[in-house]
């Protein structure tokens, strides 16, 4: 009788741990995002595009929240190598931090592992149309960071700032 109750106890513990691990996983995967939206007509069946949309939503959610520690990890690996976090934070936190972002268009260039995204950023009642560049590296999408504090140095920077 005693052995049986010990076995039941162990099984219950294992099940409990398994569920909590699963919930933790779901929690990080399904982050509650209420400030980044995707237009209905954007095709979401493509796996690559689906991954990109998820990354886009998480990234802009963190940026809008001012959680730069997290958004930093979405930036291109070589940009992170060249730009230490304090510098990134200083250049990312501009006066034009939006309150809501809507993904409007995706131009996926699978051949060159990149995508250009068009987004609408709302600042109270006003909005601006902006562009994002994302690159697919070893199974993950990364955002290309363009600083928006200083005047643009290149044509590309001017286009994406």
């Amino acid at each position: 009788m005693k052995i049986n109750s010990i076995i039941i106890y162990i099984i219950t513990i294992i099940l409990f741990l398994g569920c909590s691990a699963k919930n933790k996983h779901l929690k990080s995967k399904h982050l509650k995002i209420t400030d980044v939206y995707v237009k209905q007509y954007i095709f979401k069946n493509d796996n690559l595009q689906q991954k990109l949309i998820q990354r886009f939503k998480e990234y802009w959610h963190y940026r809008q929240k001012g959680d730069y520690n997290k958004s930093y990890m979405f930036e291109l690996p070589y940009q992170r190598y060249l730009m230490p976090f304090p510098k990134y934070k200083a250049l990312a936190a501009g006066s034009y931090v939006g309150k809501k972002t809507v993904l409007e268009k995706i131009n996926l260039d699978k051949k060159n592992s990149q995508a250009i995204l068009q987004r609408k950023v709302y600042f109270n009642n006003l909005y601006r149309i902006k562009k994002d560049k994302w690159l697919y590296i070893n199974g993950q999408w990364y955002h290309k960071f363009y600083q928006s504090i200083l005047p643009p140095k290149t044509e590309e920077e001017a286009e994406f700032q």
């Binding site: 690996p77 992170r80 190598y81 230490p84 592992s113 590296i137 070893n138 990364y142």
Partner: protein, 254 residues
């Protein structure tokens, strides 16, 4: 230091450098392999210019003679001496940082992300293979062109030889680097023919083949180059980091 004009005596006492430079009565005409390599590397690092061995030897000898004349005439001021000293210190300091930096390997994602973001900078140059038949006069070149517009390559060479033309073959030449008129012909006309002559020229071109497809250099081909670019861009940050570490160790010693 018999063979050297400059006797650089670098004595390192507690990271300080003492430079001793003296004039010589008889200037040596010999230059060592290391001196040649040194000046070649210096020009490459500064101007991205590959100096030939002959050029390097010539420049070393010229500099040697001129520098010695300067020393004879004006001697070495304390400003000169200090300037040479600080340049040497800078060279050694930067080399020290680079050696530490080179031990740290960049990871694949960092290099690959740079490659993908700058892919257009790694386009393979479009190339062309062509043959130039050079005649003694523009009239002979024109005659050759008029008679052989649709002749095959083999026959053209045979006829050109009979007409005492000089035949020059060019393989895998970058189209971008061709002279403007030749580039125009390669871009406008098909391969396997003689394009028309532009102006009065004594040479006729035969376009054998070309490669005009948009091709990128592979990631592995440019991997080391990118690693170097990223490390150079990060150099100043690295230097600061190492300086902080170095200063700490000095403070601890004291």
């Amino acid at each position: 230091m018999k063979n050297f004009l400059f006797a650089f005596l670098l004595t390192v006492f507690s990271f300080a450098i003492d430079v001793h430079i003296a004039k010589e009565k008889n200037i040596s005409q010999n230059v060592s392999r290391e001196e040649i390599n040194g000046i070649q590397d210096y020009f490459y690092e500064l101007f991205h210019f590959h100096m030939s061995e002959r050029g390097a030897k010539k420049l070393l000898k010229e500099n040697r003679a001129l520098a010695n004349e300067y020393l004879k005439k004006y001697g070495l001021s304390s400003y000169d001496k200090n300037r040479i000293k600080v340049i040497t210190e800078l060279y050694l300091a930067n080399k020290f940082v680079k050696q530490i930096q080179n031990k740290v390997k960049l990871d694949d994602d960092e290099i690959l992300s740079y490659y993908l973001d700058h892919k257009d900078e790694y386009l393979q140059p479009n190339t062309v293979d062509f043959v130039a038949f050079v005649f003694d006069t523009p009239e002979n070149a024109m005659k050759f062109y008029e008679k052989n517009k649709k002749t095959s390559m083999k026959k053209l060479i045979k006829i050109a030889k009979q007409n005492h033309a000089i035949i020059k073959e060019y393989k895998k030449r970058s189209i971008k680097k061709l002279k403007a008129d030749l580039r125009y012909l390669v871009n406008k006309y098909q391969h396997g023919l003689l394009p028309p002559l532009i102006g009065k020229k004594s040479s006729v071109i035969y376009i054998e083949s070309f490669d005009k497809k948009k091709k990128y250099k592979s990631f592995n081909e440019v991997r080391k180059e990118i690693e170097k670019i990223l490390k150079n861009k990060k150099f100043l940050d690295e230097r600061q980091r190492i300086v902080k570490k170095y200063n700490k160790s000095i403070i601890n010693e004291n």
